[in-house]
């Protein structure tokens, strides 16, 4: 479980996050949603301290991450897997080396065991024959899948995904969503996904936090997001033509 308390962040005069609090539960897919520029990715990066928040606290299973010392933070970070928007694969390493990187750096195990683990996760994300390919040879969807494989190779307790569907076609998006949901269940991770894709929201949104201009406006699940009673949430949800058609059909 991850808990955030009163996270605020400004860049110069622009306040990007205003006192955001919430709980992200273990074994569930937690979504942070909202329109572009509302501070979703900033909030995600504040949670893992890739961006230092101005105020607020973050707890990983009741361990105070914000006020931990450097060594404690490193220990917690080693339990984190993260998928970045563009995959963030190392250009100079092939798929196999990219996925093995966290094991090479952090795990103490024989090389054969590492290789088995790499093959296992590549198989899990459906990339069993791509071991020797370089990142430049991969499609957008494949890069995301390699990114997911790298994020889960160390069996993380916490999985963070920043816009996993951006730039992907609808079919690949659904595959990636299903993969994230299945991995969350299989590894019992606390998963946080930042997205603005309504297909993802309706597909995997166990727990949803809606951000609007730096404020948390609503929290719920995919079952009640269509009747939240909050205008900004409705505007966001029903901006999608398919969702709009569904609403008309229901009424």
């Amino acid at each position: 479980m991850i808990e955030i308390q009163n996270i605020s962040k400004s860049f110069g005069d622009k306040q990007v996050l205003r006192s955001i609090s919430g709980v992200f539960e273990k074994g569930r897919t937690n979504l942070i949603i909202g329109a572009s520029g509302t501070g979703k990715s900033v909030l995600l990066k504040c949670i893992v301290e890739l961006i230092k928040p101005d105020e607020g606290l973050v707890f990983f299973d009741n361990r105070n991450f914000t006020e931990s010392n450097r060594h404690e933070k490193i220990e917690i970070r080693r339990e984190i897997g993260m998928l970045f928007q563009g995959g963030a694969l190392f250009d100079s390493k092939n798929v196999e080396e990219n996925v093995r990187f966290p094991l090479d750096m952090l795990a103490v195990m024989p090389r054969d065991e590492k290789q088995d683990r790499v093959n296992l996760v590549l198989n899990r994300v459906g990339l069993q024959n791509a071991n020797k390919k370089m990142p430049s040879e991969l499609s957008g969807g494949m890069r995301k899948r390699v990114g997911i494989a790298r994020a889960i190779v160390n069996s993380p307790k916490y999985l963070f995904c920043d816009e996993p569907n951006s730039g992907l076609d609808p079919q690949t998006s659904i595959l990636i969503d299903e993969l994230i949901q299945a991995l969350t269940a299989d590894y019992d991770t606390t998963t946080i996904v930042v997205t603005h894709d309504m297909n993802s929201v309706m597909g995997i949104g166990d727990n949803i936090m809606f951000l609007y201009q730096g404020d948390k406006l609503w929290e719920g699940s995919k079952d009640n997001i269509t009747h939240s009673g909050v205008k900004e949430v409705d505007d966001f949800v029903f901006a999608n033509k398919v969702m709009m058609a569904m609403r008309k059909e229901n009424t």
Partner: protein
């Protein structure tokens, strides 16, 4: 104020090189890779540039020393002093900043904007130690080596042009090279090489590491890396000359 802040940030960056260190084995492999990138890939450029600089220095020195009472071996003596004290360590440092510094900065800048550095940090790995320290160690090892090669090539260039054009005979050239030779100049050149190798690698890495924005900013960081490195090299050149060569 901005300059002081920048200098402070640079020193904090240098301090982070040594915190949360990776194992020797990890660094060893990375340093070898960087040595190949920095050293081996730069040898041809250094050989070409320094050979021509040596050749041109010989011709121009001969052009200026026209008095009949000045012995011809003075030409190669002057070329030797210029090469060892300035051309090989300092002028080549400018070439080094242009080739290696811009490449280091571009590499780290690209890693920054494509979130590869964030990916390393989020795993609990000190990205500065992992990515930058091997570059600096490799530069400390390879730049002095390149300076030695450069010096040899410049003096050889001078020898060849002297022989081909008949400016001075090979025996005169070799005599001048050895005449009143002070071996401290070699030590001084190597001290400069180590200093400049460190400055170019650390400043270029710093500029690349803190790149923000997109592809345009990566290019701008590379340009800034080269200009700042060159300024730092020239400043350090003066300070070292004042400290180590000043008669007082």
């Amino acid at each position: 104020m901005g300059l002081l802040k920048e200098i402070g940030k640079y020193f904090i960056f240098l301090g982070r090189l040594f915190t949360n260190r990776e194992s020797f084995k990890t660094h060893y492999k990375l340093v070898i890779d960087e040595c190949l990138l920095i050293g081996i890939d730069s040898i041809l450029l250094f050989v070409l540039v320094s050979t021509f600089i040596g050749a041109v220095s010989t011709v121009q020195t001969a052009f200026n020393l026209v008095a009949p009472y000045i012995p011809k071996y003075v030409i190669s003596q002057v070329v030797r002093e210029m090469t060892v004290l300035e051309l090989a360590p300092t002028v080549m440092a400018i070439v080094y900043a242009g080739k290696v510094g811009s490449s280091m900065s571009g590499n780290l800048g690209t890693m920054r904007i494509t979130e590869q550095i964030d990916a390393i940090e989020v795993m609990g790995i000190n990205s500065i130690n992992y990515l930058v320290l091997p570059k600096i160690i490799a530069s400390l090892l390879m730049y002095p080596l390149l300076v030695v090669i450069s010096g040899v090539c410049a003096l050889t260039g001078g020898y060849l042009v002297g022989m081909i054009t008949g400016i001075l005979a090979p025996t005169e050239y070799v005599y001048g090279i050895r005449y009143l030779f002070n071996d401290f100049t070699i030590t001084f050149a190597l001290i400069k090489a180590i200093t400049f190798g460190f400055l170019v690698a650390s400043i270029s890495s710093y500029k690349g590491y803190y790149t923000t924005g997109g592809a345009l900013e990566v290019g701008m960081s590379s340009t800034k890396a080269v200009t700042t490195s060159v300024i730092a090299v020239l400043l350090a050149d003066y300070v070292l000359a004042q400290l180590l060569l000043s008669p007082a």
